[in-house]
Amino acid sequence: MKRNLPAILLLIFAAALIVVGIIMHQPGSVLSKAVRICMECIGLG
């Protein structure tokens, strides 16, 4: 437990950030960007 304490604290922090992101509907923003072809990514500008 002591060995992994920093990692566990980071995981709790990460979970908190994810929850805040979900409350702010950020997964929806990720989805809306990802379901359309990203012209910049594929090199079409």
Binding site: R3, N4, P6, A7, I8, L10, L11, F13, A14, A15, A16, L17, I18, V19, V20, G21, I22, M24, Q26, P27, G28, S29, V30, L31, K33, A34, V35, R36, I37, C38, E40, C41, I42, G43, L44, G45
Partner: protein, 274 residues
Amino acid sequence: MDRKKRRTGIQAAAALIQNANIKGFFTGKIYDGATKSVCVPGLNCYSCPGAVGSCPIGSLQSFLSGIKFRFPYYVAGLLIFFGALAGRAVCGFLCPFGFIQDLLFMIPFYKKNRFKIDRYLRYLKYLVLLLLVIILPMTFNLTPFFCKYVCPEGTLSGLMLAAADKTLRAQLGPLFNWKFILLLITIVTSLIVYRPFCKYICPLGAVYGLFNRTAIYRMTLDKDKCIRCGKCEKACRMNVDPSKTPNSMECIRCGECVDTCPSKALYLGIKKRP
């Protein structure tokens, strides 16, 4: 099964799971299901016809380059989550682009994995992360600089889409040519140097490297057992010396040093050394 084969198997399975939309490779249409609201751990462009998840670096940039700034809580949370669990083991086991480079390095060709400027070139990925992923997209809105001007993963996706879609093929221009040259350089260099993109350019590797010391899955060195023979350093293709820095930011946790160590001084795992 030995560690090398097991890792290759995990890498293949991870690449397949993250690109499970096989139909897309033939139709040239990208997947638009709900799973794309989740970022995958590795570098896997969301415009790859097979992708069923989102690229964390692409998603991060889309938040940072928005006209109205929004802190990317969700994407940052996922990056920290993957990093705290596995650090750069993500690069070694779960990243499809890392897997491609591993396969390329297996091809018999002239190899030169150790050279003088290697240690300086490694800092480039931190510059790429700061400049192309964070600062420039925040300064010049709506331009994901890393994806647009560098990412060879995206170019590979573009090639696959263009191969299946005549309309896209007709639109390929100077930007694509630039990115195609970068992709070719990455491919040719990967035949000679082990994982050049991961070592010198990848901003995702730069992020996960920060977690290597604290991640749950990490390495321990028993200094009493270490006989300082240098075999681990010679075995490491990421040019790390595990006897000095077992949790170096460059280590992708392939575990070859662990297998090479004659005194079993190195241990890689999630629990305390047995």
